[in-house]
Amino acid sequence: MDENEFAHDKSQYERPNFPYRCGRGVLWQKPCYQGPNLDGSCGGVSECTPALKGSRWQCKRSKSAGGACEDGPTPYGECGLKRTPCAPKPTLRVYRGRLALLVAILIVALIGFLQAFYPINNRFFKSSDLNPISKAHQKFAQESGCTTCHASHNKGPGALVKALVTKTDLSANCVNCHTFAGPSSKAHNGGIKKDHDYQDTHCQMCHLEHKGESFNTKVLTGKQCNFCHKTKFESFSRGHPEFREKFPYLKRNSIKFNHVSHFNKHFEKSKNKGPKTCTGCHNITSADRAVRSFGFDVVCAECHARQIISKNLNLITLPEMPLPESEEDLIDRNEVFSFCAGPVMIEMDANMDELKKRMSGPERKKMEAERRKMEAERKNTEMEEFEAVSTDSVTVISAYLLNLKDKDSSEEYATPIQELILEMAGNGTDRMAQLIEEHSANGMAKKLLAGLHPEVLKRAACAWALNEEYEPPIQSEYGGWFANLVSVGYTPFGHADPVAKSWIEFALAATAGEEDQQKRELAKAMQKELVDPKDGVGSCIKCHAVTAKKSAKGKEQLFVEWEITWPELKPFVFYSHKNHIDMLGVDDSCQHCHVMDDKAKYKDSFETEDPAEFVSNFRSIERNQCVTCHSENQVAQECQLCHIYHLKPGFKKTMMTVAKTQPSINN
């Protein structure tokens, strides 16, 4: 390039920043020297602007444009080289700026248009949408749209600006539908340990939305758990803490079932009755976190049903009574006679009166003399030939109800027992019910004496009061209340007999909070007899565990575990037996993990009332047993496979209503 070409007197200075270029140049002709004006008009109509020097106009064309022209200006001072004006065109820079502005305006207009006319749930172009929300949330957001979670949505520009400078709490909207058993803004809903300083959390820390319809908002990763937990580890197979001692048999069962003795001894003896495998008793069709056993009727009744009905309750026994007419003898036989045989005699007397009217005088006198003679003979016989019909002692129940210091001492029991018998002879069950109510909560007598007909007590008491052996009618073969020669008792109908259960509960409750030493001793004696595993009523305690708990009144009390309560399910842990059984097979899959421990002192665990002091007759399950399958490149081992983050997650009822009334999102 010739450098002289750009000398100051040969070349014009180029200004590429100018917005217009000469229209002649656009048409590939020689552009004019002046070029277009800044406003886009042609600047090259004349070659120069002549100057008046003296009285003559002089051409002022610059040297770089060719110098002064030959013809020079007109006499009127106008340039002599005039041209028709061109149409200057914008430069590329201008076009670039215009295009950029156009694109910006188009996008702003599009956003504004969509915000104004398609603010909610338009399916074409959600200008405020990161991604579609998950299907699980779509139907609940249908009615209110985005405002379900985002309060500022569709509230106009003012709300948008306000939202820009204020902090929004999305988690507050989550709990409009979701419920937890603890505070939602605390880690694990504050439910693992009491008095622990839980970290503040919010839902979006783990649950992401707007990740597409098919995105599962519940899926978490191990690193999210590692963030809070002090013991950080890579995976279940690498670094997960070992299971605690005795896992998972941490608390004793409600039913005393010794797997070792049953499998090794009892089932061996009765090969036809006992099950061959675990599935003989445990119902795997409903297996989940626990594999519950079938009920008593299916599993236990074959061997244990007879034992229940063979263990009676002894309510009251006639003890050895004092001699008639002695100081301790309180029984007025005539009165008893009137209680017991009175109505019959009155009827007989009435019949006699009728007979007497028909009889002659001598006949009537003769009959009255014979009757007086018979009554005198009965009195003489009682005095001369008294022999007590019973040598038994008072029952523990009677002793407790009558508060007898020494139930074997006739001096101690003579008076209260005789009074009780007289009451029973007179009023049947009234006094007994009264005594029970005095020693228990209201309404207990109804449960304890359920099915006891007053006549059963009355007839037995009448006989005993007259020192006669009671001759009972034919007794029921199917259990229930009965009276025999010297006692009144109860035979359980079978398993879960309500009367037997009530008497055991009554006996256990009797010791709770009893401060009187004597009463306490009596209650204990009654309790010992009734809850005796072998001879107690129905032998209930042979299988059902007795546990100390706090009663409703806050007192330490013993309770029978009537229902099968499975070990307390930890709310943050999940385990599916079903999946494992399906995978490993039915026959012997249980023994993969549950291995019996022949040496464990299982039975001793039930000697105490504390369920935590438990020795299972299965060996603890160790982590390595699980790692056999749950490890890298094998079966899944994510935290969520076994652990649940939230404490009892649920939904509000209102949310359910919304779900029910809303049609599909696609409508």
């Binding site: 002649r24 020689k30 670039r96 950029a100 959600k126 405020s128 990161l130 500022s152 939202a163 999210q224």
Partner: protein
Amino acid sequence: MTRLWGFGIAAGAFFFLILVWTLKVDQSLGPSNFISGWAVFGVLVALVLFNGRKRLPFLPLASASWWFYFHITGGFLVVFLFWLHTDIIWPNSLYNQALVFMFYSVSITGIIGLFIEKTYPKSLTQSGVEYIYERIPERIAEIRAEAESLIEECTEKTGSDTLAKHYLEQNSLYWFFIRPRFFFNHIFRGRAAKHWIKNQCSLLDRYLNDEELAYSKKIFDLANTKRIMDFHYSMQRVLKGWLLVHVPLSTGLMVLALWHFVVVQVYL
């Protein structure tokens, strides 16, 4: 080259810093996207400042080459930051697709522009001459005028109008001299223009006498000069023209990014 390495290392360090910060916030279950999002937005704004710098040449805001290298390394950096921010190559929703499409368009046009900026000037230098883009129309007009005056002179002096007729024939020399030709062939560094001129020359020479041949040679020398000028025009046009795509797309991207910023602040 040293400067480029410097910018590259700085960009790598910045990305590493953002990556570590993002991972740390991510591990603490915090909104890690905010970190990478702000980083992307910040770098985009810094890249846009390059255009502002060109409009303010009088201010001592570092050299143009410094800004150029900053723009290049920043451009590559923002792509990686963008992937860190989005986690995915292509999103689902239409709005996000528009935003990402705009981002990729800007990135791709930027990379194409970089290729042009790095290769075309070398080709222009290799041509052996220099032409100022704004003066090319004037030079073409001068060459055309020179060629036409030669043809007039030839006709007058030789009394033959063979050359003049050929000049005016359709798709012949007049067509060639009237404006730049073979634009697309030139930008891909083709040889079509050269062949075309050679072809015109060999086609005409057999019909010309010696005197006319001398004029013809001069005219085809002018045609070759015009060809090189066309080459310069085409290359410089592309050097300036690719910004016609890159800059408007960048503006659109910034508008969408601003809206994205508003949406994130309002909705999260």
